[in-house]
């Protein structure tokens, strides 16, 4: 077991739980920063400095964008209904399952050494196992906000947890991605974060301060809405010189 990698995996998992369960925007985004900033280190061997730098900077940039959107007003719709203890238990359970899966995969890999009789349980915490464990934990705790988050910020946090979780799980299952795939993933994280921040910005500038804000209210409002889309720009207002 590599203690540094184990610490990183623990920090990523804790960050995912904080991001998914915190009702404070600041705490949720700190948790997200842990996941996005430390996730790229959860691989052995580490990617090149340029790739690693790009991934970390992108993670910080995404968190900054979301913070810029959420900073000026109270963030709404954040927080898990289960609470952080339940989210932690779920994350821990999934992480243990991830380690077990990684051990199973290692045993079917052609050419893999057979485990000796005196192996310690900690030997199961290989870099692949840690990546798979942290990835699955992040993915699972991010699913609920990603799918059912009524507000843009909560959905953004959930989607980014799911994306980063899947990337880590992919690292655990199939080894580290190549350099260009890392950059593709980097672009995906950046676009998801930017798109979500944009939607959160549109949502924030149009929401009156006194409006009900919990997810249930939002979902009820959504289900009651008809199929009519938002107002399309009036073609008559368009002209050759601009909008």
């Amino acid at each position: 077991m590599n203690p540094a990698l184990a610490g990183v995996a623990l920090a990523v998992t804790a960050g995912a739980v904080i991001a998914a369960s915190s009702r404070e925007a600041r705490a949720a985004l700190v948790g997200l920063a842990l996941v996005l900033g430390l996730g790229p280190f959860l691989t052995d061997p580490l990617p090149g400095a340029a790739i690693l730098g790009a991934r970390v900077v992108t993670g910080i940039l995404v968190v900054y964008l979301l913070w810029a959107v959420a900073a000026r007003s109270e963030a709404r719709g954040l927080g898990s209904r289960l609470g952080w203890p339940a989210e932690s238990v779920i994350a821990a359970g999934v992480a243990i399952a991830g380690v077990a899966m990684a051990a199973g995969l290692a045993s079917v890999t052609p050419g893999a050494p057979l485990p000796g009789p005196a192996t310690s349980p900690l030997d199961a915490l290989t870099p692949s196992a840690l990546a798979l464990a942290a990835g699955l934990a992040s993915l699972v705790v991010g699913l609920a906000p990603a799918c059912f988050g009524g507000r843009a910020l909560r959905s953004a946090v959930g989607l980014l947890l799911v994306v980063q979780g899947l990337v880590l799980a992919r690292t655990g299952l199939a080894g580290p991605p190549g350099a260009l795939e890392q950059l593709g993933i980097d672009g995906l994280v950046l676009t998801v974060g930017t798109s979500a921040a944009l939607i959160a910005h549109i949502e924030r500038r149009s929401t009156p301060e006194g409006e009900r804000t919990d997810d249930r209210a939002t979902d009820a409002g959504r289900s009651g809405r008809g199929d009519a889309g938002p107002g399309r720009p009036d073609p008559s207002s368009a002209s050759a010189t601009g909008r």
Binding site: V108, A228, P233, R243
Partner: protein
């Protein structure tokens, strides 16, 4: 090198055009220059382009040139129409970003890179235009969230399948070429195929994942629909098709149940998508559901794993996306010209605007197809190969639904003109009234100073005619691509062999 150059032009240029759209003239200038450059660079893509980049090979091909050139030209022409009569060009920057990432994704053999890049580009193309919708409020934010989730879900499903394929339990490691297919591996192969096809269903908006596509068609400016539901989704399907050919096909597992399920879902999309396009009255929904129907036919390419079927799927995808770009351009200009969106209010549109009528006929010709066209042959082969007889005849008959739903629009257009149509400006060119007063008596400097003003006035007065001309060009390009297809680009064309990086060709050229 030209592929990289295209990405290097389109992605930053599109981003700059998007970010500066708050100052429309600057944003439009950047977007226009980028679009023209993208067309020029796309035309130079060739089969000899192979550049090692970050551990893989970025390679061009004749098929990729066809796709990139058509995609770039459609963006430029649709962008022009959008500037003249639509959202003012809000779709130009995001569409260019989608073009850059999409072409880059199609130029590499690794499906993981392709799925990641196409998802990123699709998000940019779909969500970007929402930022500049006038008066965007909480309803727009809700629509944005509903677009975000399926796009991300599709990308993640694709990445998950790629991760499984490359893992120790994937076919590359677990399959024994001399011992037949292990039952457990066959089950895993079937699940892998279903996961990728589910990703394609979600990404293309095929039934039963069609709701988001319908919302997209009604929520975003029409010019953004081809970039998101058309080109980006087709690129995604091409990458998925390449992955299936490389990962699933070599195992030679029968996968009867999985193929049957895919055929049923595809047939449902063909039947119900066509039916919905016939029943809906507003143009955006007709456009959206016609794309849903096309997605159903494209899904049939996953129903049988054969090189000729895969090639037919590629021809169909590219041809239909090009044709539906023409339909989107027609919808954009028609809606702006007559200021109505419902068919019941569009009586006599073809009599009022012969240019739009010509555009529509070209689009209809491409959508219905004629014997000898690549898409016509592809549609026949896909239904025949993937659907059991005699049901294939029903599906093939349903695939000719454009005859009905486009024919209905044309019949309405030839009817007596409605008040809305009669009261519109129309698309007839206006050649008089732009010369400033005192032109003949004025001094040369005064005349020179007045020319730009007169030019702007002429463009403003003829904006509907110019937009209709753009739409006609898009329709003609679509008809050409639907006729020629990818030009038999499915030949085995292994790339990167000399460079020792990969043994696969790009998704455009086929995975085998």
């Amino acid at each position: 090198m030209s592929v990289l150059l295209l990405a290097a032009v389109a992605i930053p240029g599109g981003l700059a055009a998007f970010l500066t759209f708050g100052r429309p003239r600057l944003g439009l200038a950047i977007g226009s220059v980028t679009a023209i450059l993208a067309v020029a660079v796309a035309a130079t893509i060739g089969a000899q382009d192979a550049v090692p980049l970050a551990g893989t090979v970025v390679s061009g091909s004749d098929g990729l040139r066809t796709v990139a050139l058509t995609w770039a030209a459609v963006i430029a022409l649709l962008g022009l129409a959008d500037v003249l009569v639509g959202s003012g060009g809000a779709t130009l920057g995001p569409s260019l970003m989608g073009l850059g990432t999409g072409v880059l994704a199609l130029s590499v053999a690794d499906a993981g890179i392709g799925f990641a890049l196409l998802t990123a580009g699709g998000l940019a193309a779909a969500v970007g235009p929402l930022a500049w919708l006038p008066g965007a409020g909480s309803d727009v934010a809700l629509v944005g969230l509903r677009l975000l989730r399926p796009l991300v879900l599709a990308g993640l499903l694709g990445l998950a399948a790629v991760a499984w394929g490359a893992s120790a339990v994937g076919p590359f490691v677990a399959a024994d070429p001399f011992a037949g297919v292990d039952p457990a591996l066959e089950t895993a192969l079937g699940l892998g195929l279903l996961v990728v096809v589910t990703a394609v269903i979600v990404r293309m908006g095929a039934i039963p994942a069609h709701v988001w596509a319908s919302r997209l068609a009604e929520a975003v400016p029409v010019a953004a629909v081809p970039a998101t539901l058309g080109w980006g989704a087709a690129g995604f399907a091409l990458v998925a098709l390449g992955w299936v050919e490389v990962t699933i096909a070599p195992a030679a597992a029968p996968l009867f149940a999985e193929h049957g399920l895919i055929a049923v879902v595809a047939a449902a999309s063909v039947l119900l998508g066509g039916l919905a396009a016939m029943l809906h009255d507003d143009l955006e929904h007709v456009l959206g559901y016609s794309i849903v129907q096309d997605a159903g036919i494209a899904l049939l390419a996953f129903g049988v794993i054969r090189p000729d079927v895969a090639q037919a799927g590629r021809d169909w995808l590219i041809g239909m996306v090009a044709v539906k770009s023409g339909l989107a351009a027609w919808v954009l200009v028609t809606r702006a010209t007559f200021r109505v969106r419902r068919l019941s209010e569009l009586r006599g549109w073809a009599r009022s605007s012969p240019l739009l009528a010509l555009t529509f006929v070209v689009v209809a010709l491409g959508a219905v197809g004629l014997p000898g066209m690549a898409t016509f042959a592809a549609r026949s082969l896909l239904t025949e190969a993937a659907v059991a007889s005699p049901f294939d005849l029903f599906v093939l008959a349903a695939a000719f639904a454009p005859l009905v739903y486009l024919g209905r629009i044309l019949v309405v257009g030839l009817d007596r003109m409605s008040d809305a149509v009669r009261g519109s400006e129309g698309t007839r060119p206006r050649l008089r009234g732009f010369r400033p007063a005192g032109w003949t008596a004025g001094s040369a400097p005064a005349v020179a100073m007045a020319v730009p003003t007169a030019f702007q006035a002429a463009i403003r007065a003829n904006r509907f005619a110019l937009a209709a001309g753009s739409a006609l060009l898009v329709a003609v390009i679509g008809l050409g691509v639907a006729t020629a297809g990818l030009g038999g680009a499915a030949v085995e064309q292994p790339l990167g062999g000399e460079l020792g990086v990969t043994e696969r060709s790009s998704p455009i050229d086929g995975g085998l």
